[in-house]
Amino acid sequence: MNPAGNAHVLLQAEDLLVHRGGVTVLDIPTLDVFSGQVLALIGPNGAGKSTLLLTLAGLLKPARGRLLFRGERIGNGGFDYRRHIAMVFQEPLLFDATVFENVAAGLKIRGVGRAEIGRTVPEYLERFGVGHLAKRSARKLSGGEAQRTSLARAFVTKPEIVFLDEPFSSLDTPTRDALIGDLERILRETHTTAVASTHDQTEALRLADRMAVMNGGTIAQIGPVAEVINRPADEFVASFVGVETVLPGHVLRISDGVFTAAVEGGEIEAVGDVQAGEKVLCCIRPEHVTLSTNTSFSETSARNVFSGTIRKITPLGLFHRIYLNCGFDLVAYVTRQSLEELLLQEGKSVTASFKATAVHVIRRGALPPG
């Protein structure tokens, strides 16, 4: 993935400043949203995620700053811009009408004729899995069905950017999982640009190409997902994103339930139900990584064994965090005892190993042809 390289900037925010009740709640010098990509906003409660989303969507007027959509400044009122975007909130916020009428709302607002609505809406109802509920009153939907309707309503107008404010946090886990999967597929199929805020790192991993970590109204770190997670800029980001090594790659070959994924700088073996050529994210928790200083390869049952150098060591309570470079970034935990026994220090060469079963695989869909 090469986000900054070939994608162009669809939405640009400059010098954003938002006050509320005399307090500065948002202070963003610059922010770029790239076309065709999903940007995840994560951060603790009160970090300003919702405020940022509302401001980017043109629904909240900042005290200072400007937004540029396709290079053009978004004028006062932002009405024209709003016709090119869509937003989904944590609550479905459906109208007191049928599912069909709800999904058609955005089209009706744009003056689309009844005939065309009749053609377009059913397609999107199907796509989001609520086709069989077309005539049902919005009041009688379950949480998941309502949110699907809200999503369909947002996408049917073919927006250029979709803003999502923790759209799944009020749903139970199985419903959420199903919806994330559907949304991920649709975002990928339609190449829709999206900015989504979430609490849940797995959600971010499944949906996002880039991630921004927010804290107290500012962006602590922004960049490709793997980079932010593997190389947190500071302690706050590190503690927030949850330390895990995340390696994007694609499936090279599969044999016997075990597959090999090619990641930048190496190959990893993992267990999972994947297809050849599929894009995957390989996630390894630091506690599953074992370090040793002798160079013998054969004594472990782990299928992933790599040699690398220690980039950085940071203390973490009773143990230490070791940042390794094995051709790709890898993080491991060691106890203070092990640190001293192995005489680990920055710059030292070590052998890192982890089991294929320790790799948590997140599927990212088929690689585009060519």
Partner: protein, 235 residues
């Protein structure tokens, strides 16, 4: 029992007057409907616009305005009647309009009575909508006008209650109607003022008959509105 006989007599008279389409009673009934209907419509235009505007806007002194509206909901009709009369007197500030003792004056007074009721209920209904709904509607690409229209549509059930409250309040009031209308036969006499007059004359049977007709009228209108409102409820 004498009073039971009286009531029965009144009901009989009511049926008689309705079925023979008694000209005077018909005229009074029609005028009641027209006057109160017009007043309610006026109060809807003003009430829904002002109520929605106040609900959606933040401005200095908003708290005071909301208190005034809520107080206005309980305005005694006779007080309204007295003040409207004083304003409409020949020598009063609006005397040049020369509408005292006309149905127009009754419409005016009733509109003053009904408007705060409709405004207050609209205000409460719009405020009761989910906080982010306004933003969601804007995010769907709505203009400000479209947004207001959609919000009002979302609040349509309680707004229908506002219509019923406004209409109910004015079709049944008598204090203002007598004062500003003058209860002139065939011209500004409505069901309520006629009932008071007939009672004053001691014609209890006619008074009861008129009351029955008023009740039937009020019930009919509310039944229709309730039908519409209840059709929207989940089945």
């Amino acid at each position: 029992m004498q009073s039971m006989d009286l009531i029965l007599e009144g009901i009989q008279k009511a049926i008689y007057l309705i079925f023979t389409l008694d000209k005077e009673v018909l005229g009074i009934t029609l005028l009641s409907l027209q006057v109160s209907g017009t007043a309610t419509l006026i109060s809807l235009f003003i009430g829904i616009s002002v109520g929605t505007a106040v609900a959606l806007t933040r401005f200095p002194g908003r708290q005071l305005v909301v208190s005034l509206i809520n107080t206005g909901m309980g305005l005694p009709p006779v007080v309204v009647g007295l003040f409207v009369t004083i304003f409409l007197w020949r020598n009063g500030p609006l005397g040049f309009l020369e509408i005292l003792y006309t149905p127009t004056a009754i419409i005016l007074a009733q509109a003053v009575i009904a408007t705060p009721i409709v405004t207050g209920i609209t205000l409460a209904s719009i405020q009761h909508l989910p906080a982010n709904l306004r933003l969601q509607i804007l995010a769907l690409g709505a203009t400000r006008v479209q947004m207001v229209w959609l919000l009002v549509k979302e609040a349509r059930l309680p707004l229908l209650a506002a219509v019923m409250a406004g209409f109910g309040g004015v079709i049944s009031e008598v204090g203002a109607s007598i004062m500003v209308g003058g209860n002139i036969k065939g011209y500004s006499r409505v069901l309520t003022t006629a009932t008071v007059m007939e009672t004053g004359r001691g014609n209890f049977d006619i008074a009861i008959a008129l009351s029955v007709i008023l009740l039937l009228l009020s019930f009919a209108v509310n039944a229709i509105l309730t039908q519409i409102q209840q059709r929207e409820r989940p089945r």
